[in-house]
């Protein structure tokens, strides 16, 4: 017999699939955008900005070779001098959130704190995707409407 000591929370924090009623409801890792632009510490800000905006984004996540999140470039950071290295321009060590966090909680927090985007990472810091506030709010609203209607309109 074997004992998986770190348990279910460790499994979920790693972004691994699960079964059960909670698995039917969208979570942060499901809604996070996997196609967010990424860059390295040693790149030039101007090059990264052009690449991000060319892909229709106003954000970029800074990763190392193992896809561990080192920093974040949101709209404000991308406006800095184009000759800066990413390491100098980025917001280092941003708050990150686990894939299993409920989308309703994330939407509520992002709205209350006026946060446009949040990196979603596994427990060892690897990027799952970037959760945008508009996507979180839309998913939370759709979930609410779906569950509200399935209850026959009763709250």
């Amino acid at each position: 017999m074997f004992d998986y000591e770190d348990g279910k929370l460790d499994w979920l924090a790693a972004g691994l699939p699960s079964e059960g009623t909670n698995a039917q409801r969208p979570r942060a890792g499901d809604i996070a955008r996997k196609d967010v632009p990424t860059c390295r510490l040693d790149e030039r800000l101007g090059d990264v900005r052009d690449r991000a905006r060319g892909a229709g984004w106003d954000a970029c996540v800074v990763l190392n070779e193992e896809r561990v999140v080192f920093g974040l470039l949101r709209s404000k950071e991308l406006k800095a001098s184009p000759d800066l290295r990413i390491e100098e321009a980025m917001r280092p060590g941003p708050s990150t959130f686990r894939p299993f966090v409920s989308i309703e909680e994330m939407a509520a927090f992002m709205t209350e704190h006026d946060l446009d985007s949040s990196p979603i990472t596994t427990s060892d810091g690897r990027l799952v995707g970037l959760l945008r506030r508009q996507d979180a709010a839309k998913a939370a609203l759709e979930l609410h409407e779906r569950e509200h209607h399935s209850n026959g309109g009763q709250t």
Binding site: S95, V101, S102
Partner: protein, 53 residues
């Protein structure tokens, strides 16, 4: 604390904090500490324990 530093308190537990753990913005109107945020988002870390048998 200098006159330029403003004491921040977690909006949930009122403990003294350096900044909001969720948004990290200096002007956050409802800053939250790490512990309360982890509780709210269900991100409390598991700690090892032994099963019987």
């Amino acid at each position: 604390m200098t006159e330029h530093e403003v004491a921040l308190a977690c909006a949930t537990c009122e403990s003294s904090i350096d900044g909001c753990e969720f948004c990290e913005e200096p002007g956050c109107r409802a800053p939250i500490c790490y512990h309360c945020l982890a509780e709210a988002l269900g991100q409390a870390m598991a700690h090892p324990h032994a099963h019987g048998g």
